[in-house]
């Protein structure tokens, strides 16, 4: 059968290279977001009262662990970067395994689930950070960013990196789905295809 002749030598076709490049960028973006947010900490000493001439200082810290949304952000970004690392390793070291259909399908589904995961994490963090930056008059929640400017800046950088990761994961999912569709078209057509195979 013509569909049985699949090129198995190496993996230098265009979609393979594009997918690998996108995965490397997505891995770097989500890892950067996780690392920057997990090291986000700022300590400030304020004078709260003065007894005679002796000022009483209170030390307040702003850590990412104080907000559950940021904890979820760090954990989700670590998970997605680990998934990307695993897929990169799979793609580089075992390119021949991708001929079977179930393999491609599971990769596509996993990519889609991780894209939704990182999107959820980035959005939760950005909305809670918006409340922290602007405050909320109706609920009487004061803004935090005027006192902890460095904390807010680092958090903003991590969230921007996570959004870059969201866009990249969406592209990765799109390319995985198109590889799956292309592979299925190749197998389901009964006429021998004249074009060279593109998948590996």
């Amino acid at each position: 059968m013509a569909g049985g002749k699949i090129v198995v030598a190496g993996g230098t076709t265009k979609s393979w290279k594009v997918l690998l490049g996108l995965r490397i960028f997505a891995f770097m973006a989500t890892l950067a977001a996780a690392i920057v947010m997990s090291l986000n900490k700022e300590t400030k000493t304020l004078v709260v009262a003065t007894i005679g001439t002796l000022p009483i200082k209170a030390t307040i810290t702003a850590k990412f662990q104080h907000t559950p949304a940021f904890v979820f952000f760090v954990i989700a970004n670590v998970m997605v970067s680990f998934h990307n690392l695993l897929m990169i390793a799979l793609q580089i070291f075992i390119p021949k395994l991708e001929q079977k259909g179930l393999h491609l399908l599971s990769i596509a589904i996993l990519d889609m689930l991780n894209a939704t995961l990182v999107s959820a994490a980035a959005n939760a963090a950005v909305f809670v950070a918006e409340v922290g930056k602007n405050g909320n008059k109706h609920a009487k929640w004061n803004k935090v960013c005027d006192r902890f400017a460095t904390y807010c800046d680092h958090g903003a950088g991590a969230i921007i990196a996570a959004f870059a990761g969201v866009i990249l994961m969406l592209l990765v999912s799109a390319v995985s789905i198109s590889r799956l569709l292309f592979n299925s078209n190749k197998f389901s057509s009964t006429a021998p295809s004249a074009t060279a195979t593109d998948v590996p």
Partner: protein, 163 residues
């Protein structure tokens, strides 16, 4: 016969997701409560918080989209497009739900480190209705994850799995 039940199952799932998303929108829009706290009167509406506005808009888009896809004929070429659109809609749903849950959690428990007091004690009916809307959003999300796998199955030939 198998194909007919599959198609029917897909339609039922999509109609259920449409209902869930619409329910989430309606529950959140109609949540409005006025409470008087000594001399202050606090009106809690969903539009006070940006995350809830995003939740309403995202779920409205999702319900319109699933209503339109309900009428897509089976042999149309647009089903490949529906796969990618389903993925984007699922991402929209997860992002809006997680943002709304994150902010609602701050409203329910407060944040002691930032000096934010919980507001659910003053407006309990508002909080309950928001919780209901979030649960409906969660149901819509779970249904859409199934629909994503279903749309892929609709487009990809079943022979792929038996190679």
């Amino acid at each position: 016969m198998v194909k007919l039940t599959q198609r029917l199952g897909g339609l039922v799932l999509r109609f259920a997701a449409f209902c869930a998303a619409l329910g989430a929108v309606i529950a959140m829009i109609t949540s409005r409560e006025r409470s008087s706290f000594f001399v202050l009167s606090l009106v809690a509406k969903y539009s006070d918080l940006a995350a809830f506005k995003y939740f309403v808009i995202a779920n409205a888009i999702v319900s319109v989209y699933s209503f339109l896809v309900l009428f897509l004929p089976k042999e149309s070429l647009l089903w490949k497009f529906v796969v990618v659109l389903d993925l984007m809609v699922t991402m929209l749903l997860t992002s809006s739900l997680s943002a709304a849950v994150a902010v609602a959690q701050v409203g329910k428990r407060g944040n002691a480190n930032a000096g934010w007091l919980p507001i659910c004690g003053q407006v309990p009916r508002f909080c309950d209705q928001i919780t209901g809307a979030l649960i409906a959003g969660l149901v819509a999300l779970v249904l859409y994850v199934f629909l994503l796998i279903f749309s892929i199955h609709h487009v990809v030939d079943p022979f792929l799995l038996r190679k």
